[in-house]
């Protein structure tokens, strides 16, 4: 597909990496030539310098022949203008706009037709929803849904006290008393596809698939406490905090927001009468102690500064706060930071990219292609859901009868409402939903790609 991306910022860059890797023809627009130069040197894409809202620039980016336009510049107004202009020039064009300002949310959703938008992405709202989802089941560091929510993939961390420490995977069922599958383990920052003899250790991050109810059973059986969250402290009163507070207040959770900016505090206090808003600097320990950080059920570090978020989360962890969530704006240091006890990491940028990539995949959907794709293990692995069709190879044969590619795993098979943790005897039949986990750089976009 021919795709134009306007705005070569953080999101633009990440999208470039994903979409160019999937074989699309990309053209990037930005008004900063040096940013474009860096991208063009790294990825096989074309660049156009200019204002993406002008017809001149859009024309030289080839909008008349493009299939999709993604706008991810820093200004919402420009994103909208760019989409409208481009759509006017090419009515066949699909458009995706990133809109962050809460004030525009209603208008962009209700007037999508008028603005010529195929999809509106709000990374901050998405992040807030993701955090809300994590809070309902504390203990999971990450949670993805498959097969209409029947199957889930969750990330867990193994502590030194965990009963799973030192357990080889073939004994997992005896120890945990539940049928689940460990599909990827991240040890020392590297993702591996474990075999039956693999022995789990403390500090491993494991990615487990299984039926949703079995996974919550797993948490219970291995002693990861799941208390209900009642008191939440949010550091930073930005856009994400706004959406999160909105969600939490609706669920009658006690929310306390701390921010050093008086004006922002007043805005929050005005918008959320039931929330506690405190003017204060979270980088000062006495402020945190005064606000009783240690008594919170969950701490969400969401200031605009990644370093401060990390420090705050480390402090919260040292106070034994049951759930800690850290927002990271920049993705680069994620691998390093993952080693630190800073709880779940959420990245608005990644969520936004995932949504857009999913839309692109759906646009180019052909027979046998992926239903949904989630990146896991710091971008080192992918979990992909497929629908088994008549054209799939090895139908009706047990899994042990044929070979899969290296580092590819069938993580779950769903027949109707019946979820199976696959073993050598499992078979795939047309109509089944399967989840495949692939480790490493290989790109799997069709179910038949998994066979060796």
């Amino acid at each position: 597909m021919r795709i134009i991306i306007a705005g070569d910022g953080k999101v633009g860059h990440m999208l470039t990496r994903h979409l160019s890797g999937e074989g699309h023809d990309l053209t990037l627009i930005d008004n900063d030539p040096s940013a474009l130069e860096t991208t063009v040197e790294r990825y096989d894409v074309m660049s156009v310098v200019g204002n993406c809202g002008s017809m001149e620039t859009l024309r030289s980016a080839g909008v008349d022949k493009a299939d999709l336009l993604i706008t991810a510049t820093g200004q919402d107004e420009l994103n909208l203008l760019c989409c409208m202009t481009a759509h006017g020039m090419n009515p066949e064009l699909h458009t995706i706009a990133r809109i962050r300002t809460p004030d525009y949310m209603e208008s962009t959703y209700t007037m999508r037709k008028l603005f010529a938008l195929s999809l509106v992405v709000n990374p901050e709202r998405q992040t807030a929803r993701e955090i809300d989802r994590l809070m309902r089941y504390p203990g999971y560091l990450k949670r993805e849904k498959f097969a209409n929510g029947l199957v889930e993939l969750v990330e867990l961390k193994i502590d030194a006290e965990s009963p799973l420490d030192g357990v080889p995977l073939h004994q997992l069922t005896q120890v945990a008393h539940v049928q689940v599958l460990v599909c990827t383990v991240v040890r020392d920052g590297k993702a591996v596809t474990p075999s039956g003899d693999f022995v789990l250790q403390a500090d491993d991050h494991i990615y487990v698939t299984g039926a949703a109810k079995n996974l919550s059973l797993l948490l219970k059986n291995i002693g990861i406490a799941t208390p209900k969250i009642r008191n939440v402290i949010i550091a930073g009163a930005g856009g994400t905090s706004y959406y999160l507070t909105q969600l939490l207040c609706r669920e009658n959770v006690n929310v306390k927001i701390i921010d050093p900016n008086r004006e922002r505090c007043e805005k929050f206090a005005e918008a959320f009468p039931s929330a506690t808003v405190v003017e204060g600097d979270v980088s000062i320990r006495s402020v945190l102690d005064r606000e009783k950080l240690s008594q919170a059920d969950a701490v969400v570090s969401m200031t605009g500064i990644d370093e401060l978020n990390v420090i705050l989360s480390l402090y919260a962890d040292s106070l034994k706060v049951p759930q800690v969530i850290t927002k990271l704006g920049r993705g680069e240091n994620r691998k390093l930071l993952e080693q630190l006890p800073i709880g779940s990491i959420v990245s608005p940028k990644e969520l936004c990219c995932d949504t857009i990539t999913r839309y692109v995949r759906a646009m180019g959907n052909q027979a046998g292609s992926a239903v949904s794709i989630h990146t896991i293990a710091n971008d080192q692995a992918e979990a992909i859901e497929f629908a088994v069709e008549e054209g799939t190879k090895h139908l009706g044969e047990p899994l042990k009868a044929f070979r899969l590619k290296k580092n590819v795993l069938v993580a779950s098979i769903t027949h109707g409402r019946n979820i199976e943790v696959p073993n050598g005897e499992s078979v795939m039949r047309p109509g089944d939903r399967v989840v495949i986990v692939a480790n490493g750089d290989m790109v799997i976009r069709n179910l038949n790609d998994i066979f060796a």
Binding site: D25, P33, V40, R42, D44, V45, M46, D441
Partner: protein
């Protein structure tokens, strides 16, 4: 530096070269030229062995690739390509000394056309074909060909842009479509189409098929190796005019042809480089025509004068180096014009050499701006080309290029003057100009009817380097010799 990925690319290049030798080998079989058969089989054997070894050593190469690797890789690839490409000449015994064979093939790949052979017809059809074909490959670039056929791979293909940039001439090289592979393929497609057209027109001009193909290769790559001892003077006037037109066509930036395919005619007509290029060509033809009209035996009437002066101008400005007359016997002004044309060279993004018309244009604009700024120091002026702003960095690069260019001319001139053959100043200077700008014939002892055989081995190596420096626009070759390339970090 990522040695392994470079080895892998070199392995590919050698494999491609082997495939390229197959038609020459077939001609050798067809003409029952036993020595040529041995020559090509030997060279192919060496190439395959090296390619296999390189492929084996680069089994688990990482894909990281930066500007440094791109430069060094391009420079090295051309040297390796020439070292192996010289083998058919040497093994077949048609060029007994390896240095001469190396000079000849470097001259071929860099599309120079400077030769050490006085009796080309004695080389045999197979060797002649290989000599001319090297022009065709070198014209668009063997690495660009590699980019066009290399299997689409993984995520970080953008690194390959460094190769395209290192091999393609011009101050700012970019892609014409988003995918590198498509860009390279489109370039080669246009190149092939134009070459085939050239062959067809030459056949219409009653040229024998073998000659037509070889001359078209030389024209396409703006090389200049002829296949008969009389150069192009022995063919019909029609064939000569066809060659004039096609030389000029191959001296045009290939993105112009892409614009034509895309039906963006206004952009073509308004292209400043194209306009200046055509203006220089036209002015030179008129000047030379006026000067030589009626003065030599070949230019007695108007038709002959126009045909010969147009041919020589086209041949020199596009840095091809074919000749229909011995322009060495012309008076001073026409020769001086030809020397100036050697400097200017063809358009950026064409197959020709020289400083390039667009660089000359930018330099002129820069001089104009500097002069203006002496009187109006506070005025802010921006240099534009085709209505678009030229970044200051590009201007710095163009100025730097000119500096390096002048240095290389001076140093090479000094080194050639030290040659024990003790040639005249004109010979040495024109030899430097003709090799460094990838033209071929110079003046005096290296004029259109003479050759480079009498230079010493050392001088031939210097000139071979000059040819590579000229074709790859200096920096890829400099990168090989720069100590900082091999420093860690």
């Amino acid at each position: 530096m990522n040695i392994k990925i470079m080895l892998r690319i070199h392995g590919w290049i050698l494999a491609i070269e082997t495939v390229f030798m197959i038609p020459a080998l077939a001609i050798a079989f067809f003409t029952e030229d036993i020595q040529a058969i041995y020559g090509f089989l030997g060279a192919m054997g060496v190439a395959i062995a090296c390619a296999a070894l390189m492929a084996f050593m680069s089994r688990n190469a990482k894909r990281k690739f930066y500007a440094r690797e791109g430069l060094v890789c391009t420079g090295m690839a051309w040297i390796v390509l020439s070292l192996v490409g010289a083998l058919p000449f040497y093994i077949s015994g048609r060029i007994p000394r390896y240095v001469d064979a190396f000079f000849e093939i470097v001259s071929g790949f860099t599309t120079t056309g400077a030769s050490v052979i006085s009796d080309v017809e004695a080389l045999g059809k197979a060797i002649l074909y290989w000599r001319s074909f090297s022009h065709w490959v070198g014209g668009m670039g063997v690495l660009v060909f590699f980019l066009a056929i290399v299997p689409a791979s993984g995520r970080n293909d953008g690194y390959m842009l460094h190769i395209l940039r290192a091999e393609s001439p011009g101050p700012s090289v970019g892609k014409i479509v988003p995918r590198m592979r498509d860009t390279a393929a489109i370039l080669y497609m246009m190149y092939c189409t134009l070459t085939v057209l050239d062959v067809l027109f030459l056949l219409l001009g009653k040229m024998p098929l073998f000659d037509a193909v070889c001359i078209a290769f030389g024209t396409a790559g703006t090389g200049g190796f002829a296949v008969t001892n009389t150069g192009l003077g022995g063919y019909t006037p029609f064939a000569q005019n066809v060659t004039t037109v096609f030389m000029l066509l191959f001296g045009v930036n290939f993105s112009i042809y892409y614009l034509l395919i895309m039906k963006r005619f206004m952009a073509v007509i308004k292209d400043e480089e194209l306009r200046l290029y055509l203006l220089i060509v036209l002015a030179s033809i008129i000047c030379i025509g006026v000067c030589v009209f009626g003065r030599t035996v070949d230019t007695q009437n108007l038709e002959e004068t126009v045909r010969h002066s147009a041919f020589q101008v086209a041949s020199i400005i596009t840095t091809t180096g074919y000749a229909t007359v011995d322009f060495d016997i012309w008076s001073s002004l026409p020769k001086a014009i030809l020397i100036c044309l050697m400097f200017v060279g063809a358009s950026a993004g064409s197959t020709g050499g020289g400083i390039k018309v667009s660089r000359v244009l930018l330099l002129a604009k820069n001089i104009k701006r500097n002069a203006h700024q002496i009187f109006h120091p506070h005025e802010v002026r921006i240099i534009r080309m085709n209505g678009e702003r030229i970044p200051e960095q590009t201007m710095i690069n163009v100025n730097g290029y000119l500096g390096a260019y002048v240095m290389i001319v001076i140093v090479s001139f000094l080194l050639l003057s030290a040659d024990r053959a003790n040639f005249s100043m004109t010979t040495n200077f024109s030899a430097v100009m003709a090799t460094f700008n990838n033209i071929g014939p110079g003046f005096d002892s290296v004029g259109a009817t003479r050759n480079y055989y009498d230079y010493s081995a050392f001088s031939k190596i210097i000139m071979s380097l000059d040819m590579l420096l000229g074709r790859l626009e200096i920096f890829p070759i400099v990168a090989i010799f720069a100590p900082s390339t091999y420093r860690k970090g």
